[in-house]
């Protein structure tokens, strides 16, 4: 089984991805995570304006067979949530790095990005 792991993102062990542009970032769950979960049927998202510390649970993704907490890779404030997922949670299966994104965050401390996994390091974790 080979998984898509885009080279321009960074990752957490717990299978979240982050795509940073300046001091804002998009966060979602990886191809590996969506494949492991199977058909996603429900997503619980935070509200705009919510603040989260790096590593905090900020969303829940549920498939038929599993409930999975999602952790934020960095500290920040939620500036947008992907409301399309409320009606179409399957977007996470279809396009985990595209229309299946979860939230956008305004970063508090860009130094935290250095703590995250590179695509190569994440790919290695997934293989092992």
């Amino acid at each position: 089984m080979s998984f898509d792991i885009p080279a321009e993102f960074r990752y957490l062990d717990s299978h979240e991805w982050i795509d940073v542009t300046g001091d804002t970032a998009r966060v979602g769950i990886s191809d590996v995570a969506q494949d492991e979960l199977g058909d996603v049927v429900f997503v619980e998202l935070p509200a705009e304006g919510d603040q989260f510390d790096a590593g905090a649970e900020f969303a829940v993704v549920e498939s038929i067979k599993a409930v999975s907490d999602v952790y934020t890779p960095v500290t920040g404030e939620v500036t947008a949530v992907n409301e399309a997922l409320l009606d179409r949670p399957e977007l996470i299966n279809e396009e985990p790095y595209g229309d299946g994104w979860l939230v956008e965050l305004e970063l508090t401390d860009t130094d935290e990005l250095d703590e995250l996994l590179s695509p190569e390091a994440y790919a290695e974790k997934v293989e092992s």
């Binding site: 199977g38 058909d39 049927v41 429900f42 038929i64």
Partner: protein, 359 residues
């Protein structure tokens, strides 16, 4: 180390993901639980259920032994017939639910304990035999028989294609059939609510019989969503002698209890029936967004705790979350408004009659 069915390699090659279930390593999903579910509801799918146990009882007192063991009326079975039943302890608590088959020869009775329960149930049979001094032989044949379920509206047509014979089985009938030159037992039983049958094939011939049906393979994930839409019980979850001790009346299967027969637990169940049940297993539909799961608390609208969810899922057919919950009997009426606490948040729900689907 979990046991593997004779079809394990086929499932692995087909790209299944696996899960441990009752001591067996079983395919949970092939491509998509929702797609597999839909195949069975709309056309047909096949399941490897070789993890189910088989126990065969023979001898002059075979029927008497099963009459003592199970709550339904075994004496009512003609050769080639089957019935659903509970197995209860002296207190009337469900140890197991099962299907009892009287094989076409009329001499042999076979029943199907759930995965991992065959040893306990065979021991219980031996105990019944000596307790009542019965002349019967009890043999566990779990790994003599592979079990394959072919389920869905087109299952009868699949049978006819595979055998060249007309499909004449009514629900809960069993006969012998030859599939791809393999002698099998075929029973019109299942766990999905659809037309279909379950095959008992010799363990070593399982792959030949599996390949004789060119229909999508389905895993335990779809098996669970299909049975939940029909409100069918899952042993170890909706009842369990240790974690969820319940009588058949509480579990909503009073129809399998025949108090005119002499089974273990009969007197306790007669008393329980006269006393009425305090909690009943009923269907629940979540009205708010979310997914019901095992362990969720059910409350009245005022927040008073009135029960808990034992099984829950997102119904692929209905597109809403459904579940089974033990609820205080005064609330266990269809359309009663209740709440279910999901991650500390009370969500609106209503009691539903089961099955959730008309079939």
């Amino acid at each position: 180390m979990d046991r593997q069915t004779p079809l394990y390699e086929y499932h692995a090659d087909r790209g299944a993901s696996f899960t441990g279930f009752g001591g067996w390593e079983m395919p949970v999903e092939f491509d998509s639980i929702q797609a597999e579910h839909q195949h069975v509801r709309e056309t047909v799918g096949k399941f490897d259920v070789s993890h189910m146990g088989q126990i065969e009882v023979t001898g002059p007192d075979a029927a008497t032994l099963l009459q003592r063991l199970t709550t339904n009326d075994v004496a009512a079975l003609d050769p080639g017939e089957a019935q659903y039943a509970a197995i209860t302890d002296e207190e009337g608590i469900m140890l197991e639910d099962t299907v009892v088959y009287r094989l076409p020869d009329g001499e042999t009775y076979l029943f199907v304990p759930n995965a991992g329960n065959d040893t306990a149930m065979a021991d219980r049979c031996q105990w019944v035999r000596s307790e009542f001094d019965l002349d019967a032989e009890v043999e566990t044949t779990t790994t003599d028989w592979a079990m394959i379920a072919v389920q869905g509206p087109r299952a009868p047509a699949q049978f006819e294609a595979a055998t060249g014979e007309e499909y004449t089985l009514d629900r809960f009938e069993i006969e012998r059939a030859t599939i791809a030159s393999v002698e099998c037992l075929v029973a019109a039983t299942g766990y999905t609510g659809e037309d279909g049958f379950e095959l008992l094939a010799p363990w070593a011939e399982a792959s030949t019989v599996w390949r004789a049906f060119d229909v999508p393979p389905c895993g335990l994930g779809a098996r669970d969503t299909l049975r939940l839409e029909m409100g069918l019980l899952l042993s170890g979850q909706d009842f369990d002698p240790d974690e969820q001790p319940r009588t058949p009346y509480e579990a909503g299967i009073g129809f399998v209890v025949d108090l005119d027969t002499a089974f273990i637990g009969r007197d306790a169940l007669q008393a329980a029936r006269e006393a009425g049940v305090e909690e009943t297993l009923c269907g629940v539909e979540l009205l708010d967004r979310g997914v019901l799961r095992h362990g969720h608390t059910v409350t009245a609208p005022d927040g008073e705790e009135i029960g808990h969810v034992t099984s829950g899922t997102m119904s692929p057919t209905l597109g809403v979350s459904i579940g089974l919950a033990y609820v205080a009997s005064e609330y266990a009426e269809p359309d009663e408004t209740v709440r279910v606490v999901v991650r500390d948040e009370p969500k609106n729900a209503r009691i539903r009659a089961t099955p959730f689907l008309n079939r």
